[in-house]
Subunit: 340 residues, 2 copies
């Protein structure tokens, strides 16, 4: 149980990492979570399950509830309390996606029309609110004030991260540090909380709770870094997100921050104009992608993602080796190998 | 302490009702609540207190926290737990106002530009989310699962009421029953919860808890009915809401439902066109106001408000007479006399 090194193989070393082990590990419990999700997104107002179902039934990897369930397996939890809490986590995530799509004016989500396009902004905002409230109802039913504290705090941090991202939008001077702070809040806080609550329901030690939090948080950062790399990596399969959205919205993600830092004077002028919103044509996006490639900014972003994925794996070293830990390590490897 | 009749004087009988007694009753505690509100709307992201402060500092009657505080006085509660919970209630309310303004595309709120106009829809949605999360953090700090249950359930009901209202928008066939159901959810649920939690922190009997819930719920319905009457009552002072907003948005409120039910064939055709969105000029609004007056729909709406205000007062009859009860009765009288 003492700390050991869990190496993260590089691409090409060994087999392609896959989500299959963690999916298998959590499959039975996930069926129960899905049943709770379907049951609790119902309402006497038919528009609510229609809109929520459009997004929830429309795929999605259920990454966050999967972390809660996998964490439960890792610590040998035999109960079912974490099923309801996993549904709560997915509701919080779904609420933020719905609001994000309104905020960004998204057209696509998970490979189909975003809810705001199909149902309009008003309904999308309000159904997000409903799911958020429902998430808290589920937590209250569970009855753990500690879980409530973790997830209410994460929710406040997510909202702050989203506002911070909005504030940094179209600001070319945004630093890598600020970017990491933003994704730590908007993405990693919920990954961390989702993992941590598994240790809470299983009444683990503080160290184990902290370890699961660290795993989730670092995985979340790795995950977002790769998402942001993929948005400029035209060689990869489409992830169901509009390619180039970040560029057109003037979002300051790491590939841009790095390409800007490494760019010539002329390139910097291009980035200033582009992020300010004066270069939004397809040819501008193509030029941006070319500059990002020229400066190795995709690979550098992925390399940082590997760093956080490694830290996620390291955090697991206090737990005994076994099926659950191996699945969670491979999930971290998968997170950084996506989109190649 | 046995049930007694608390009559609601008609207009012209006795002195003009005022909020002064309930304001005085709760003034000291409200200072503490306001300090908590100011403290807890802070964030490292400066846009959050700017936007939240635009609405929160911009007036507002603090009706809902006032109900919690007055309820505490009524039941002789000597603690301060309800201060934090009152702030939580006001944050939930503020979050719904911010989201409402985005949903309705409001231009004015409390007599000045709405937050969505000043700060844009994206920030307004996200700061609403932040305040909602912060409300739950405050409740978790208090630590009562019963309060968390009441306010998470109320939050889900509010969101459902808002979606229901959206669904009923531009539907001339909306019934009075459905309208009452909508305002019961979107407005009265939080009034009820705000009152009820005073009894919870004071560890009152179930009957007292229920009585405070009934008071708040009926007061909330009365309050919303009068708000909806005022929107068509051009003789009254401006309430800081755009006059005729409901009309232009095709919202089905009771004055319209009654004028439509009582109207001639020709008038009904006008209402069908207007609610469908084909008659939104100032002269159309003037005609709508004229039809509503002709059929006594403002007075009928106010009469129903009086009915609910009377029920609110009746609910208080199980509590001993005194300064708190008198102030709460007069607040109900005030609610229905507003805007004359």
């Amino acid at each position: 149980m003492s700390a050991e090194v869990i190496p993260l193989p590089k691409r090409g070393e060994g087999k392609e990492p896959s989500l299959a082990p963690i999916l298998n590990l959590t499959a039975t419990a996930m069926n129960s979570v899905n049943a709770i999700i379907l049951d609790r997104m119902q309402s006497e107002i038919p528009l609510i399950p229609s809109l929520a179902g459009h997004l929830i039934a429309g795929g999605g990897k259920r990454m966050r509830p999967m972390l809660t369930l996998a964490g439960g397996e890792l610590v040998g939890y035999n109960g079912t309390r974490h099923h309801k809490l996993s549904a709560a986590v997915e509701f919080i995530h779904t609420a933020t996606l719905l609001h994000d799509d309104v905020v960004d004016g998204s057209e696509q989500r998970r490979g189909k029309s975003a809810a705001n396009i199909v149902f309009g902004n008003p309904a999308t905002v309000l159904v997000g609110d409903f799911l958020f409230a429902r998430a808290f109802e589920l937590m209250v039913e569970d009855g753990s004030l500690k879980v409530l504290k973790i997830l209410s705090s994460a929710s406040a941090i997510i909202a702050q991260g989203e506002v911070d991202q909005l504030t940094a939008q179209r600001k070319i001077e945004t630093s890598e540090e600020r970017y990491l702070h933003i994704i730590g809040a908007k993405t990693a806080a919920l990954f961390a909380a989702a993992s941590r609550i598994a240790a809470v329901v299983a009444e683990c030690s503080d160290a184990e709770e902290k370890a699961l939090d660290d795993y989730g948080r670092n995985l979340g950062i790795a995950f977002q870094l790769v998402d942001d790399a993929i948005d400029y990596d035209t060689g990869t399969a489409d992830m169901g997100k509009d390619r180039g959205d970040d560029f057109r919205e003037g979002k300051m993600t790491l590939p841009v921050i790095l390409a800007y830092a490494r760019g010539s004077e002329e390139e910097r002028r291009f980035w200033q104009d582009a992020i300010a919103g004066f270069r939004t044509e397809d040819e501008d996006l193509a030029h941006a992608v070319e500059l990002i490639r020229r400066h190795g900014a995709i690979e550098a972003t992925r390399e940082r993602a590997r760093h956080f994925a490694q830290r996620a794996c390291d955090a697991l070293s206090i737990f005994p080796d076994g099926r659950a830990r191996q699945a969670m390590v491979e999930a971290a490897q998968f997170a950084v190998s996506r989109g190649y």
